[in-house]
Each structure stands twice: as C-alpha cells, then as structure tokens.
C-alpha cells in the first residue's frame, strides 16, 4: 500500500514523469496559494471519482459486458460529479467553495483524474488500493504544482532570455524539477 502511494506520489509522479494534467499545471501555478487550492480540489474529486467509478466498473459494466463503454461512462460520471460537488459546496459549504470550488470547473478536463480511474481498473487494484493510488497520484499532482509555483515565484523577476519568456521557461523549469525527481527512482522496491 505504501509502495503504491510512494510510487504514485514521487517515483512515477503524474506530472513530472507521466506528463498528465499539464494544462492546469501550466495555467494554475502562477501563485502558490492557487496551486494548493487546485491541488486539493483535484485530490478531492479524484478520490470521489475513484469511489464512484471503481464500483461502477466492477459491479455494473464488467458483469454486463459493457467494458467498452468505460471511457464514455467514466467521463460523464466525472463531469456530473464535478457539477454536483460544485453545486453542493456553493450551497452548503460556502467557505470551502470559496477556497476550492472555483477550481472545480477546471477539473472536468483534468486528464489525471480520468487516467487514474482507468488505471485503477487496468492495474487490477482492489477498492482500497484504488483509493490509495488516487490519493497518491493527486497529491503528486499537488506537489508538482506547488514546486513549480515556487520556482515560478523565484524566477518571476529574473532576466530570462526573451525567446524563453512565458511558457518555454516553465517547461524548462519542469525539466529540471523532473531531473531532481529522478533521484527518487528506486526508492521503493
């Protein structure tokens, strides 16, 4: 269990090693607070999505032989889930909504979440393992977001060469963060 978690969090980091969720990674890291909010929102929805999609696959789609509807059903479920959560938070937990809810619309198209729900199935994880995996992946996402936000904060006034300003330097920075993350490889055997 710890292994699944550490591998998902550090060794096979969803952003840095697996290139998932890059859109929001670039878009939402201009500020550390923002990246933390986004990260926790993703964590929340990923776990929720896993908790819904895993039983759906195991108890509905697979027995009915509807495995081919996986993509369609999962994306619809996640999209509806996000809407539902957004609505619920807005109405009942306005404090949390203010902190997290504004990031929810972005999450529908966050490929990390969809990828996690697919991988839970294809890796053959049981329910608990799936939850652990989804927490690991999404905290890995949060970690990568926060680290890039830190680097961005650090370089925001640097005399970066004109041709690298903007997105290129973010990816160059990500490259170096990924190099540092290579150090975690093999940490869990």
């Amino acid at each position: 269990m710890t292994k699944i978690f550490i591998i998902a969090l550090l060794i096979n980091n969803v952003v840095l090693m697996r290139f998932l969720a890059l859109c929001s990674y670039v878009g939402m890291t201009s500020d550390v607070g923002q990246s933390v909010g986004m990260g926790f929102a993703v964590t929340f929805v990923t776990v929720l999505a896993t908790a819904v999609t895993w039983p759906l696959q195991t108890f509905v789609l697979a027995p009915l032989g509807l495995g081919f509807l996986q993509i369609l059903v999962f994306i619809l479920v996640i999209a509806s889930l996000v809407q539902l959560v957004e609505f619920y938070l807005k109405k009942n937990v306005p404090g949390l909504y203010a902190a997290m809810g504004i990031y929810l619309p972005l999450i529908t198209t966050n490929c990390a979440i969809l990828a996690v729900t697919f991988e839970n199935i294809s890796n053959g994880y049981n329910f608990i393992e799936s939850i652990v995996y989804s927490v690991g992946v999404s905290l890995g996402y949060l970690l990568a977001m926060v680290l890039l936000a830190g680097v961005r904060d650090r370089i925001k006034n640097s005399p970066i060469p004109a041709f690298l300003k903007g997105t290129p330097i973010l990816f160059a920075a990500t490259s170096l963060i990924a190099i540092a993350f290579m150090g975690f490889s093999g940490l869990v055997k």
């Binding site: 878009g27 009915l64 509807l66 109405k91 504004i102 990031y103 929810l104 619309p105 972005l106 198209t109």
Partner: protein, 278 residues
C-alpha cells in the same frame, strides 16, 4: 444482440439521469449575475482548460466582465474567440478622444545635466536622489518611466532623450501623466487646436533658465505681447493659452526666442514620425 439491448437500456438510463440532473442544476443555478459574464462565457469555448490562468471559463468570463483580464487570454479559442470577447466588452468610446502631450523640450543637447547621475535608471529614482538630473529642476529626466507604464505601446524613448508619443496609439488614459515624477504630461482633447508652450520650467530667474536649458521658456513674455487675440497669460511662471480664444495663428510660435512654443495640431500631433526618427 444481447449486448446491444443491454447497451440500449443502460444508455437510456444514463441519459435519463443526466437529463434530470441537468434540469435540476439549471433550476438551482439561477444565480443573479452580470449578464455580461454570461455573454462572455457564451463566447468562450468552455474547454475549462485553465490555460488563461483563471479557474475555468467561468472564472475567466467573470474576470473579463470585471475588466480584470484582457479579452485575448483564451488560447483554446484562438483569435476568433478573442475578437468575440473583445466585441462584447468593448470599452465604451470616450465622448472625446484624449491624448497625452509632453510639456518639455529639454533634449539631451539642449538641457544641461546637473551632474553625472549613477543609480537606478528610473525617473523617479533619479528625481528622488538628485532632485533632477537636469540643471532644470522641472525637466524631463529621460529614463522612460512613462514608456514603461504605457499599456498601449504609444510611448517610446527618442534618440534625443525625450519620450515620443505615438498619437495614432495614444488613448489619453493618463497613466504617463500620473507616473511622471515631474508631471510633464498634459492630457488634452485630440481635436484641440492652438499654441502650447513645451516647457514646464517655473524658475522666475531668467538667467537660471538660460543656463540650464536652451529650449526653456525664459519668461520674456513675447508671446503674451504678440498674441492678437490676447489669449496668452503668464500663470505660475509659464504662459498659458486660452483655447476658447486661440485661433492657432502661430504668431507666438514664430516670436518665441527659444523655440519652445508649438502648435498642437501640427507641431505636436502632426509630426509623430519625424519626431521619432529625429
């Protein structure tokens, strides 16, 4: 065949649930908000990719409607979306177009430096630690704080050490006027005609002005005397034109011994290209 039947049943169920949810949401989501937000939101692709730096299309639409964000940040939608959004939020045209005019002619050659300034290359920094890097305490410092603050790319430092206004781009927003530590910019209607003195030196001692700058107003009041309409008066040591009376005859411009007089419509706004290259 069985699979297809199951599929049909399943999809019908799915669609029903979705439809119900959707209707439910629509009903519950009736939150009062700026119709402009909805309009902008409608023009956006709805990909919710976050590429704009705002949390989702809704967040961006709100920012645009509140004028906190420009219309061109949606990368998913591309130029078409940008145009549509820009059209929606298009800032209402000013009743009168304004432009910014620099009231200083103290070019590098004409205005003497007071000393060799070393320090941060901004007008404000220079003024704070030296009073003025120029011998003239009112003159343009020439570090281009105004250029840096202009959002419309309408200002550029000329080779002569003075900023040049591109009147095709200037919107008269007044940012430069606010930023300039010497308060050298006047915001005037673009349609204004008449004479203006391109100097802000208020030193009453003629000799001091002459020592400091060859293009300074030396308070000779020749303009006041020559004006056939009697529309020029000295205010706080600087001649001021009454545009209600000024006929733009140009006599004051001709008479001015230090050539710091100019006509707004020709000398200032009319020669933008020449000025930049000069």
């Amino acid at each position: 065949m069985m699979t297809i039947l199951i599929t049909l049943g399943f999809s019908a169920l799915l669609a029903f649930v979705l439809g119900a949810l959707l209707g439910f949401f629509r009903e519950k989501f009736k939150v009062e908000r700026d119709p402009l937000v909805d309009a902008v939101r409608g023009a956006l692709p709805g990909a919710n990719c976050g590429g704009c730096g705002y949390p989702g299309c809704d967040g961006y639409a709100e920012a645009v409607a509140a004028r906190r964000a420009g219309p061109n940040l949606c990368s998913a939608g591309g130029s078409k979306t940008a145009e549509a959004v820009a059209a929606l939020v298009g800032v209402a045209a000013n009743a009168e177009d304004l432009v910014s005019v620099l009231l200083c002619s103290g070019t590098k050659e004409k205005a003497l430096d007071k000393g060799a300034y070393v320090g941060i290359p901004t007008c404000r920094g220079a003024k704070l630690s030296t009073g003025s890097t120029k011998a003239c305490a009112w003159g343009c410092q020439g570090f281009g704080d105004c250029v840096a603050v202009c959002k419309f790319d309408a200002l550029a430092m000329g080779d002569d050490g003075l900023p040049k206004v591109d009147y095709a781009k200037c919107t008269g927003c007044g940012m430069c006027a606010e930023e300039c530590p010497q308060k050298l910019f006047a915001i005037v209607p673009k349609s204004r005609k008449g004479s203006v003195v391109l100097c802000s030196n208020r030193n009453v001692v003629k000799a001091n002005v002459m020592k400091a700058c060859k293009a300074g107003c030396i308070k000779c009041e020749a303009c006041v005397k020559i004006c056939p309409e009697a529309c020029i008066a000295m205010v706080n040591g600087i001649p001021v034109t009454d545009y209600a009376k000024c006929t733009s005859c140009g006599k004051c411009v001709e008479k001015c011994p230090t050539k710091c007089y100019a006509l707004l419509e020709t000398d200032v706004m009319g020669k933008k290209k020449v000025a930049v290259n000069a």
